[in-house]
Assembly symmetry: C2
Homo-oligomer: 363 residues x 2
């Protein structure tokens, strides 16, 4: 097959790691784990799987400048494409397919999230190569599913059916169904059965397969995408075309719009470690803790406290006295104090900030 | 009697209101309650009870500049005297007596703390005038005891005996004994009996009475003070003399050194409101709370939290999510997070800060 393409989806609203993350600097632009932004880590991880010119990054207008900064020497600047407005993942995948189709109407491409933490780059590349091989071999939509390590209730699951074939040394299974985030008892059953993997939003497929799926399962989206395709085919600038048509596309996830409805989905269970580092509490396991289980970054003193995550920027000293299992994150203009158990409610907090006079300056 | 003198003791290490208070800016230099520093509030409260030239402020070297700033237009700069080192309250009272004796060897003077919150200035002045009258009338050591409003365990108590006489319209009682901070059950008994008042460190007496008490009950201190007196009598500069002799004085409280041992102590139960605002939790009742009992100053958002005290300086936003009864104080260079119930352990925290490399810059 010809060289594959890789489209990194670098979206996200920057809420879950507030106040470090902001709308203009979401998780993938932060070194949440490691020393470089997660987007940079992702781009380095895929290096060699496709030529640099075959790699695209789809992001939002507000993040575009900083995303281009992260992409320097890794992706041509012209391959960083900004959505004028967010329209969920189906539209982004459609845009990805258009970008690839311009170069190669038969092209095989991967859609990958920008903000996951994966250390075993070797295994990751083996799995992706297997996925590229599967997508090139037949008209299938290939997903890489994460082999679950716990009965997580925060992810959707994919139930596999029988073996479809082996590709690149990896088993590829037919998919029986996609299931929503389960209740704890249900999740335990999934884990025990061994038939379920986590849906991590990693897909590999060819332009014709994606186009056919849009046409069949998401005709309204397909129509909007066709307009964009036709406009750029007539030489209209991409940015201007997106500004005009993209906002008219329906908001829908690619899982719901295409994958759950398609019969030709297959799955490769991952052989690499994976962490989506979904919110502050997930950061803890990536940093060393003190003898009381406190993870501290920057100038921090914890007295009579256990299991806290404390981050301070610059020369500011953050001190905790007599508190346990708290998240305290200090940045130059905003501070968050919240129990680990409440981190999922940060959106409610940010809604309150949003209604403040000039609250937007902190978002 | 000739016009009395007033000596304000403006010491303190600035620990209990950290990070707002620092060693160079303790509680009396902060507007902990109200809009001006507590020292300024104290000086305004005594205005008119004595001529400005009869008012002295004793402070520490590290605080002297800022104390003089607070005293502008209220106390002559030369009347602000800095201890070269802290030597507890007996030495400070001895120094006060020396300062007064220089002007009037028979002078009556009050020793008053700089960092209490008192709103009823009128009643306060009535009580102080009564105390001046009592101290001028006979060789007694007059204390103003705070009429207790709860069985507090954080203060020493003074048990009164029978009525000594009336002065300035206020009853003055003989003192039976001074008692240390009591256990809760004991404190309840004190409150119920009606015979006990809180020892708030407010004393009024004449130079000869204090001098006699030092000579009899604290001879070593008396000797040191005599050396200072003799040196300044010979025209030596006060600052130089204090630098030389003050560090040799024994460290002891005036309660322990003089009052507990003297038979001629009398007490006037206060007729004014009083709050020593001993630590962060005590601040709460002086500010309005929101409907969830949160007291917030500056840019603050509390979501799903009750009974918190949150203070932010400048343009920094402090947010709390899902926490109750927490104290969060943010200053430009340091932040404190601590449950109200742990505020008394702040010294342990500051000891930890002290051992940090460059930790002193935050103290």
């Amino acid at each position: 097959m010809s060289k594959p393409y890789i489209v990194i989806i670098a979206g996200g609203k920057g809420e879950r790691f507030w106040p470090k993350s902001r709308s203009s600097k979401p998780k993938h632009l932060l070194p949440v784990v490691g020393t470089s932004p997660l987007l940079t880590q992702t781009l380095k991880r895929v290096r060699g799987l496709a030529p640099a010119g075959h790699i695209f990054v789809i992001t939002s207008a507000v993040q575009a400048a900083e995303v281009r900064q992260c992409c320097r020497n890794l992706v041509p600047a012209a391959n960083v494409v900004a959505e004028p407005v967010g329209r969920d993942t189906a539209a982004a995948v459609g845009l990805a397919a258009l970008l690839v189709a311009q170069r190669d109407p038969e092209g095989v491409f991967a859609v990958l999230p920008a903000d996951h933490v994966i250390h075993d780059t070797k295994a990751y590349r083996v799995d992706l190569k297997a996925a590229f091989a599967a997508a090139a071999a037949d008209r299938v939509m290939v997903t890489i599913g994460i082999s679950p390590t716990e009965p997580a209730t925060g992810f959707g699951y994919i139930q596999r059916a029988g073996l479809w074939r082996e590709c690149g040394g990896r088993p590829v299974y037919r998919v029986k169904r996609f299931v929503e985030k389960p209740q704890p008892s249900v999740a335990k059953g999934y884990l025990k059965s061994g038939d379920y993997v986590w849906n991590a939003g990693m897909f590999v497929w060819s332009v014709p397969v994606v186009a056919a799926a849009f046409a069949q399962h998401a005709p309204e989206l397909a129509k909007g995408l066709a307009k964009i395709s036709s406009a750029i085919g007539r030489g209209r600038p991409l940015k201007e075309t997106l500004a005009k048509i993209y906002p008219t596309l329906p908001r829908i996830s690619v899982d719901y719009a295409l994958l759950e409805k398609s019969p030709n989905v297959v799955v490769i269970p991952s052989s690499f470690d994976w962490d989506d580092v979904g919110a502050w509490p997930a950061v803890v396991k990536h940093f060393p803790a003190d003898t009381s289980g406190n993870v501290c970054r920057g100038h921090v003193v914890v007295e009579q406290g256990r299991g806290n995550l404390v981050m301070s920027e610059g020369k500011h000293l953050v001190t905790l006295l007599g508190v346990d299992d708290l998240i305290v994150v200090h940045t130059p203009d905003a501070t968050l104090v919240c129990p680990k158990s409440k981190a999922q409610d940060i959106k409610a907090l940010l809604k309150r900030v949003e209604v403040l006079e000039r609250g937007a300056r902190w978002l």
